[in-house]
Symmetry: D2
Amino acid sequence: MVKEKVVLAYSGGLDTSVILHWLLQKGYEVIAYIADLGQEEDFKAAKEKALKIGATKVYIEDLKEEFVKDFIFPAIRANAIYEGKYLLGTSLARPLIAKRQIEVAMKEKAAAVAHGATGKGNDQVRFELTYYTLAPKIKVISPWKDEEFLRKFQGRTDAIEYAKKHGIPVKQTKNEPWSSDDNIMHISYEAGELEEPDRRPRENMFQMTVSPKEAPDRETEIEIEFKKGTPIKVKNSKNGILKNTPVELFAYLNEMGGKNAIGRVDMVENRFVGIKSRGVYETPAGTILLSSHRDLEGLTMDREVMRIRDSLIPKFAELVYYGFWFSPEMETLRELFDKTQEWVTGKVRVALYKGNVIITGRESPYSLYNQSQSSMDEAGGYDPKDATGFIRINAVRLINNALRKKKSKK
Amino acid sequence: MVKEKVVLAYSGGLDTSVILHWLLQKGYEVIAYIADLGQEEDFKAAKEKALKIGATKVYIEDLKEEFVKDFIFPAIRANAIYEGKYLLGTSLARPLIAKRQIEVAMKEKAAAVAHGATGKGNDQVRFELTYYTLAPKIKVISPWKDEEFLRKFQGRTDAIEYAKKHGIPVKQTKNEPWSSDDNIMHISYEAGELEEPDRRPRENMFQMTVSPKEAPDRETEIEIEFKKGTPIKVKNSKNGILKNTPVELFAYLNEMGGKNAIGRVDMVENRFVGIKSRGVYETPAGTILLSSHRDLEGLTMDREVMRIRDSLIPKFAELVYYGFWFSPEMETLRELFDKTQEWVTGKVRVALYKGNVIITGRESPYSLYNQSQSSMDEAGGYDPKDATGFIRINAVRLINNALRKKKSKK
Amino acid sequence: MVKEKVVLAYSGGLDTSVILHWLLQKGYEVIAYIADLGQEEDFKAAKEKALKIGATKVYIEDLKEEFVKDFIFPAIRANAIYEGKYLLGTSLARPLIAKRQIEVAMKEKAAAVAHGATGKGNDQVRFELTYYTLAPKIKVISPWKDEEFLRKFQGRTDAIEYAKKHGIPVKQTKNEPWSSDDNIMHISYEAGELEEPDRRPRENMFQMTVSPKEAPDRETEIEIEFKKGTPIKVKNSKNGILKNTPVELFAYLNEMGGKNAIGRVDMVENRFVGIKSRGVYETPAGTILLSSHRDLEGLTMDREVMRIRDSLIPKFAELVYYGFWFSPEMETLRELFDKTQEWVTGKVRVALYKGNVIITGRESPYSLYNQSQSSMDEAGGYDPKDATGFIRINAVRLINNALRKKKSKK
Amino acid sequence: MVKEKVVLAYSGGLDTSVILHWLLQKGYEVIAYIADLGQEEDFKAAKEKALKIGATKVYIEDLKEEFVKDFIFPAIRANAIYEGKYLLGTSLARPLIAKRQIEVAMKEKAAAVAHGATGKGNDQVRFELTYYTLAPKIKVISPWKDEEFLRKFQGRTDAIEYAKKHGIPVKQTKNEPWSSDDNIMHISYEAGELEEPDRRPRENMFQMTVSPKEAPDRETEIEIEFKKGTPIKVKNSKNGILKNTPVELFAYLNEMGGKNAIGRVDMVENRFVGIKSRGVYETPAGTILLSSHRDLEGLTMDREVMRIRDSLIPKFAELVYYGFWFSPEMETLRELFDKTQEWVTGKVRVALYKGNVIITGRESPYSLYNQSQSSMDEAGGYDPKDATGFIRINAVRLINNALRKKKSKK
């Protein structure tokens, strides 16, 4: 009898290794899919491990460019920020992994896909909504929501014992009192001692950024060039280092941002499943880009276009966070957001210093700023007397309301 | 013949002094109104100057408490921020001054009110909309939109000469290449060399905050207590200093924030009259409060309440910025915003360090965070298997869309 | 052993009768709860039937007044309309029934509640979200999502056979090719032949309204008085009949509306579970009230208040439709919506005629309409010359955009 | 000396004839521009009149197709409706006239444009914002905001006398106690006796529609075909008459709608200048199209796309009403609105009967409706048991809120 094939999103870690083995036990043929999104990982070792456990095939794909270009940059263009703080580093990664998993499943004629995300979190939703959207009839295996699996693996100890028993190599992990997830955009930390919202994270937890205290006592000056809202060039104003491909410029901003302690966030956030959770994030490049992109919009974006767009940022961020990247409403919003970026072209200069992204200048060939019009010392084609009528007409409605209020009190 | 009385918003500076004299020349009796909103000013000297020029009466009123309690704190409760950056320090002050001016005009049976705001800016609108709303029939005198006045005073030189000619004392000002406006909430800078959006402000411009470089190399730890979104207590965790009245706690946060380089913003913004302008701001206490307030909401505010509220922040900030503080739509929004603050009670701990407001902990008697529910290691009354159905039902619509797309391509 | 008690939302129909019996078989003690929301029903017969089947107790409660006052009227005040068409007659009823069920369960110390809504529809959500909100630890029994029950009852035939087998009286129903649900607000029709969206409903399906063709060839003139957005009085302008209690005025509008063919809607709508479904509705009184309420707002509501409110109507309606009546976000929205109704007091005159609600006049002590200001023939305290400045300032931004566009094309 | 040329939006009526003459007196060369938007007018006579008064040139242009295709249909696609009632017939026409006026002014090298809209209304804004946007440096002449003109012409009598004195032919108008404006989309009525909001319009005022009482006692059945939200074909189901060009199909729907009393609206609305005014409208074709378009969206539009779109309809309508048709924010919204129409293709069948637009059926090749999924009798690829998890996860947040509320009360 031919076994059903399943494409498993594999990380090389304990959980997905145990899942790989469990799937084999359940009678599946397993293809391991490893996405390189820039995370710290020995991909070769992971591959060998998967094969050793019993995977028929292992895919390792470098998705960094697609991730930066087609997921991170659209989020920057949208000023996407979840609940006022989170830059969505994990949320943006999941749909890409899931999409590739499905593509591999198609190619391999696999009947199922599987992932190792837990049943309380957001990632399960992001994976599975993408699976269902891109392959409506695919079978989705989610062990952490599977009764039998849950009974078997009630804690980390069970997984370790299972691994030992079945000869699955268990990495000597640092056994940190938190869990983390990293990619080129960010590292997120949660769980363990972070579950106390009143407890400050230890300094040694952070990996991408130094503490403001450890950052150099000198500004790093960077010039970022945007074209229609997309970063296309990053230049170190001091040493002239220049990066102009998505991954390179993003990585460079990570390096500069990390060195200067940029992009830490600590928050209590709302998961899609209705649970509040505490998360800590490091997003150096994203933070610099968001800040400089917003600034350039100040110079180049029409006010009313900005109003409409600003009222939709929370929706956009929510959709990303909830896992609706591939959805009709997201396509609709992206259409609008991209339209708003038509003129967001130009350069922003920033100084990075001990956690601060200091805007030091901006310019654009499409600037709507008009110095003589803005100036208090020049006319600039503006007649102040017009403002009299402007204000008086704006007051018509307010006066009518005021008169009613007064009248009603008599 | 009895002269018409006018109540002039008087600052003691050159412009409003010249206006005071000009109004007298035009045959008005002038009452000078000076609001103390915490700005750097020798109020006694200003009073004497006004009387010397010819004002019949001078009102000096300390409005700091009303300003903090009834204008700044509602804005904090609303997370009000204009175009993603500006905390509205000037916008919040104008309606209060205008309101008191009207109250004085009523008491003094004055026929008119006057202000010295220019015809290109936002302040004229904020003053005048408030005037018209609170006294629909009042006569509004706005010299900088008056043809005759504008002909006479075409630049600063004209004003200085006029002052000299009429014996109006001209302060030796530092003659800085920018203009500024300050109150307890902030200092704003614009004009002069700031009119070049690509030029970084000189370090010596800043008055409320030191540069991150000059800030101490040690964190200042502060605990802020909120009740229904309003800050009610501020405590220095190190030395135990405690402030629990609006003005005192706000001033203390200004001091601590200023010392630690908190709250500088540099931006190109959109004025209500359709002009883009470049503004630089220092808002130490406001920045700390906004950041810690948002954080406490993470712990205590329902997700969907937050969604509705977040979509309205841009509107709220716009109304404040445009001068619609006293308007029916603002009353309506305040009703909603205050309702959202019902449970935003608790404490937030922050570390201030070289420009950074680092959240180090938060707690609330009304926390919606549930450690065991959030935890990856405990059930917490949550059944992961429910998530299967949750995701599958969320996918129903996406699948229908996906099938249509596929079908339409055939 | 003491049996667990369950409070079942009981209608007297086949489904809930079978469920009642099934619950008894499962070992529960069943209390039947019958809500009188104005539906066509022989409540006494229903009670006897429940007792005969084996219910320990039967509650029949007249909830009409609470329904009209606390559910329908708030929806009218909010101009609630789902997807541009549906007035939410069923959506509003479910949370009330569920709330009372919970209150009875508390009183009776029941461990569980049950309902007969299907697993594909919206009602299950409305019932259960209310149950969980008002009694977080209650056990919810939903047979139409129960594997065992679903296996047993795969179609109507199974239910009839079960009934016969167990001596449950089966009413001779008309066996119509659709199903319907009625209460004082409306009748909804779905399923059966209505599942073809291209098929027009038969005329004899409609119960509350005559066809426009059958309606009298004479207008019925009605005057409706609102106080803060709530209808308080309805008067027939011809015969002087007057109704001024919630239920009476609503019932009278139903009668007049029904007679004049008012309030039929036919649509394809989106269920919360992601399925599209076709629904047909009759809502005579609701339609008249919505139309006249909107009209009175035209006269009395400030424009900008209306703008904010209008942008939130779809959200309000969605929350009602999805079953979030008792939710923090709904409380928040209600606060805002009620505030907007502050001045919506006055009278609207309507003529009902063959499906048309024709507004024939409106008046209010708080009218913001000012005839002389509006008039083209009078000044009315408005200076047309102010409009010059108003328009020119509004054009500043547009001109800047236009000049940029032109410049960029060179 | 060469005279400055002005292009006047000319209607042939008294007002613009007087303005034409006044402009000549002021020393301008006047080019009369007459737009044929489908209004009732003897264009030849108007032309002769303009020439007789002294216009150098007269343009008469048939803009009906552009009007229907590029202005009315986009509004239908957007479901644009102002303040819940008004279909924007006049608002949509003004920017088109103004645009063509500017194009003629360019061609004729005219320095100025002029219009006869009053200083209290919306039309002045719509004309002038378009002028400024399309020709930022054009001189705008608006006699009804000109001090000298206003002094001269204080009422209709002054205009008549001026006309007589200067040999301007004065049409024997019916001298109706209201004023009206018509084009192919609608007739609007205001002023005169309509200024009493409590007075019902006389039946003989209406021109495009018969009274429901006069309408035939038989339904007119029409089938309307849409492609991406745009009506492309209209068929009379009875006699097979078929129209498939924009103007023809629109005119045919006007005819059928008018005959069946469709599309009357009576309301108090908010003008952009802050005044409330009473307007009465007849929009037969627009009403039919809006209703059938909305219906087709029910069948074909994704729910969440609809949510986003619905929240923006009030904004879209406001922008049209205020005169911002040619604005960056409108371009942005149109981008989003057009995207939402991607699948709104199909046929809607309606029965027109005495004021009612009764939807009798709809179909689409891109329907998202799935009969077996929707049906209560079939599974349709939907597992009701999933709904359990869906509801329970939706309840997580509500339960947390409920527990907090309960706890806080202790």
